[in-house]
Symmetry: C2
Subunit: 163 residues, 2 copies
Amino acid sequence: MTAARVRLFADELTVGASFPFEPYEVTEREILDFAGRWDPQWFHLEPVAARSGPFQGLIASGIQTLAIAQRLSVLAAYGHWQVIAGRELHSLRFRRPVRPGMTLTGAVEITAITPDRPAPGRADRSLVSVAIDLIDSGATDPRGSTVLSGAMDMFVARRSTAS
Amino acid sequence: MTAARVRLFADELTVGASFPFEPYEVTEREILDFAGRWDPQWFHLEPVAARSGPFQGLIASGIQTLAIAQRLSVLAAYGHWQVIAGRELHSLRFRRPVRPGMTLTGAVEITAITPDRPAPGRADRSLVSVAIDLIDSGATDPRGSTVLSGAMDMFVARRSTAS
């Protein structure tokens, strides 16, 4: 792996930079697989019963929706940064149901970069805050196309002490 | 499915009630599978490279840690309630790294039950708020055993208008 050499340090990131997502198609198969493993509630897992449920059909687990946003964020942004670890997710809102056949897209945007306190034996790092917006690309709902919105803070290494 | 008949309405839930999790063992195989699909960052995906990383070993995706907490919460609690949908995750904090071989446990506790505004054509519902605490059952770290903490709000049907 030489990829680490081209990953950006926190000092090289810019507040306001936005990273658009590749489109992601949600399938019924994936909704059922994810729900069976991680979120076994009937409205994520039973297509027939869900038809008479509050959403008139199967909807994806909110945790799966977040997992899709994470995959798209890693491919568009985090995978190219010197990420140390995630720290906190804030105000993650499940705004609209995610259904089989939807194509999701959106973007992750850097909202703040805050240098962390130096500590002995630890690499210098910054807390990088991002805003995540996952949208239904085919939305016709006047209430909006965002299915998931939220914010995350993660630690990213600073170049200063990296050799 | 007759299970819906025994699911509890929001009116039947109690603030302060706590639902302990069954133990869940985290395997390296599952960390690699989850990361490959949803969070392809090298410290979740490459055991050898991760050994010289900031955590001296492979760590689970925070989204996987949340998915484990969701599974355990559904089995212990939400699966027995008349859940309509999740609404928001608050202040979800990744407190300690989750590593292969750890056995996780913990609990979900009801912190508030707030009746929602009635609306035409919609079933009566309450916003049920829970606090989630996922812990490493073998922790010896004096800084604590919690690996993930957070809060979630979800809509749960009220008995009042259910026939």
